[in-house]
């Protein structure tokens, strides 16, 4: 077994308020390790407005700019502009936004920034719902999942929005998916993104134990099964055109992934088949996109 190598610096301090087993907390720790201190990170509203702690404290050991829910990409564009004016082209400007702040309310600002090809590293921390407000659906919530606004009598009727395709079609220099069960892949992608100019997008998949109704010790396991079941494949897109898929050698049926999570416990065999078909279709579509 290969030893996992990650940078030693800890830029997320102790005592933060993330739920026990929060996947995003793992993601944040790893991300801040990869990005390092010379980073300004913009935080539109999400769990991460609260997790680092209440004033006068913060567990971030990097510069953090909290911002309105809608405004991740826009606020960051402004920070970037200011740093440019000040002649600082070394500091990285990043955004850490939830799926709500990315797929939904922040999509316009993100699209604007991407179209302008702002020099930003935009990280969408996807926990498939509005978790900070107590698990409501977002357009990143998967098909048939339970949330407080998609109760089991009427679970989510629509499949997840394909944010990567949307971002790819902005022809930004770099977009990649990543998740915490693959820390080295995540860090490699962040480091790669760091070295590129223009808008870079990381779709970061982070299981949320309370929101997904799953045991906290399963966070990494579920992250891994997401990739193995291909419901969340790992891949990179350069300039909206060149696809590189990090294929998992162990492929499992999506059922393996679904069955560990309470938010899917109401699914019938037929529902699982439907989900599997949806996964297969999306995978097929990704392959097609990657081919041409």
């Amino acid at each position: 077994m290969k030893k996992i190598e990650i940078p030693p610096e800890e830029n997320l301090g102790h005592g933060h308020l993330a739920c026990a087993g929060c996947g995003a907390a793992v993601a944040m720790r790893l991300t801040l390790k990869a990005l390092g201190e010379k980073t300004v990170m913009v935080f539109p509203a999400s769990c991460w407005s609260i997790v680092p702690g209440f004033w006068p404290y913060s567990s971030y050991r990097i510069t953090a700019v909290h911002a309105g829910f809608v405004t991740g990409a826009a606020t960051a564009s402004g920070v970037r502009a200011a740093l440019d004016v000040r002649g600082d082209d070394e500091t990285l400007v990043a955004v850490w936004a939830g799926d709500g702040g990315t797929f939904d309310i922040g999509l316009q600002a993100l699209s604007g920034a991407a179209e302008r090809n702002e020099d930003l590293l935009y990280i969408c921390n996807d926990n498939e719902g509005y978790m900070n407000t107590g698990t409501q659906r977002s357009s990143a919530t998967p098909l048939l999942a339970w949330t407080t606004t998609t109760p089991v009598m009427q679970p989510k009727e629509n499949p997840k929005k394909d944010i990567m395709a949307i971002m790819a079609d902005h022809h930004i220099p770099y977009a990649a998916t990543a998740t915490i069960a693959y820390p080295e892949d995540l860090i490699r992608k962040l480091e790669k993104a760091k070295g590129i100019q223009g808008t870079r997008f990381i779709h970061l998949f982070s299981p949320c134990p309370p929101g997904w109704r799953m045991p906290s010790e399963q966070t990494i396991k579920i992250s891994r099964l997401a990739v193995r079941s291909r419901i969340f494949p790992l891949y990179e897109i350069e300039n909206g055109r060149t696809y590189t898929i990090q294929e998992e050698s162990h492929v499992v049926p999506v059922k393996e992934y679904l069955k560990l999570q309470g938010r899917f416990s109401h699914l019938t065999e037929k529902d699982i088949e439907t989900t599997q078909r949806n996964v297969d279709d999306t995978w097929e579509r990704l392959q097609r996109r990657a081919r041409c």
Binding site: T75, S77, V79, A109
Partner: protein
């Protein structure tokens, strides 16, 4: 240098002379010529400002919040729906104590769609923690922008400079344009309190519990309370350099008049003519121009209304269910005084309808004739 320029061009000059670092804006009539002018200036290399051509007003303000946090001087301009769309971010800018300057070209908010002058857009942002300064002419527009930065960066609050649609924005007037050196001597470079410094990482706008939120808002209010004095100093300084000053309010016409007419924006110019005419007819009347709407110049007003029995206010805005907002604010300012003149709240000119000398005269006439108003709202020029 004296040039004949539109109000929107005056804005552009204000931006140049203030050495704004970052502009972010989104077009909306009647503000568009400002962004066009700035784009031209930047494209031609005459202006070394970063212009973020964002996809919405919300983002425009958000971008400035980012930039201002980053420690540079920022500017945007908008109007009407654009300002309304920014609303959330207006609160954010003031709460974060960012000295952003925004020009709002007053325009009605639809529906129905209407692109003409109406102050409802800016007055409805009165609770966002922004200083609001209304202009009467293009010279004042330019001068106010310069003053706005000085005030904003002193008290650490954002400033909204307001001018009327078309009547100023698109109307050319002779304007004295200071040289950049003169402007520099007035306005030193922006020096932020908490500049971003990755060597000393900090978190900005950290979530705050009920334990301290009240205190932060108290500080905003305290900063607002500093504005009259700071603004006066700035205005005095400005006068000493350029020979022009504006005050928070301006009283004109008869001394110790019984009847006062309160206006803001370009209506004041019309009112000046009407007042002059009525004075000549022997009426005991004077005018009050409200330049600074936020913080509301209660004290300044009270100082100049001694002996007045009635105050007629012409509001080009409407808070439905209450009436004109200037009148409403005036009533509130007078309430704690022993001597309280009657306030006649006229609402007129919404959606860009002309407030003609005749209408102003009608308002004064009504005020003269009635011991008290027949209601909180007196509709002026309404097709009954």
């Amino acid at each position: 240098m004296r040039r004949v320029i539109t109000g929107n061009q005056a804005v552009a000059y204000g931006v140049i002379l203030s050495r704004v670092d970052v502009v972010s804006a989104y077009p909306i009539t009647p503000q568009t010529t400002i962004v066009e002018e700035l784009s031209e200036l930047i494209a031609s290399g005459r202006l070394k400002t970063r212009f973020l051509k964002v996809e919405s007003e919300h983002s425009a303000m958000a971008a400035l919040i980012g930039a201002s946090t980053g420690g540079v001087r920022t500017f945007t301009a908008t109007s009407s729906h654009g300002l309304a769309y920014m609303h959330e971010m207006l609160h954010w800018a003031s709460g974060a104590r960012l000295p952003i300057v925004l020009v709002n070209v007053n325009r009605a908010i639809g529906p129905p769609w209407n692109i003409w002058g109406d102050q409802s857009d800016s007055v409805s942002q009165r609770d966002t923690g922004w200083i609001q300064l209304y202009c009467e002419n293009n010279q004042e527009v330019l001068d106010t922008i310069l003053q706005a930065y000085l005030i904003a960066e002193t008290v650490r609050l954002p400033v909204m400079v307001v001018l009327d649609a078309f009547v100023l924005s698109h109307t050319a007037e002779p304007v004295e344009i200071p040289s950049i050196e003169e402007a520099d001597s007035l306005l030193p470079p922006f020096c932020p309190d908490y500049p971003i410094d990755t060597q000393e990482p900090r978190s900005y706008s950290v979530i705050t519990t009920p334990d301290y939120f009240l205190e932060f808002r108290y500080k905003v209010q305290k900063a607002m309370e500093e504005v009259p004095e700071v603004a006066k100093k700035v205005d005095d300084e400005f006068r000493s350099r350029f020979g022009r000053s504006y005050g928070a309010i301006e009283r004109y016409g008869k001394k110790e008049a019984e009847l006062l007419l309160m206006t803001s924006g370009t209506v004041t110019s019309t009112s000046r003519i009407v007042i002059k005419k009525l004075m000549e007819k022997g009426l005991s009347v004077a005018g009050i121009k409200i330049k600074r709407f936020r913080p509301f110049p209660s004290e300044e007003i009270c100082e100049v209304i001694q002996g007045a029995k009635k105050i007629a206010v012409i509001d080009r805005n409407l808070s439905a269910g209450v009436g004109g907002i200037f009148a409403q604010e005036l009533r509130a300012s007078l309430y704690s005084r022993e001597e309280r003149p009657q306030v006649f709240g006229f609402v007129s000119g919404l959606g860009g309808r002309d407030i003609t000398p005749a209408l102003i005269e009608e308002a004064v006439q009504y005020t003269v004739e009635h011991p008290q108003p027949e209601g909180d709202i007196l509709w002026l020029g309404l097709k009954k």
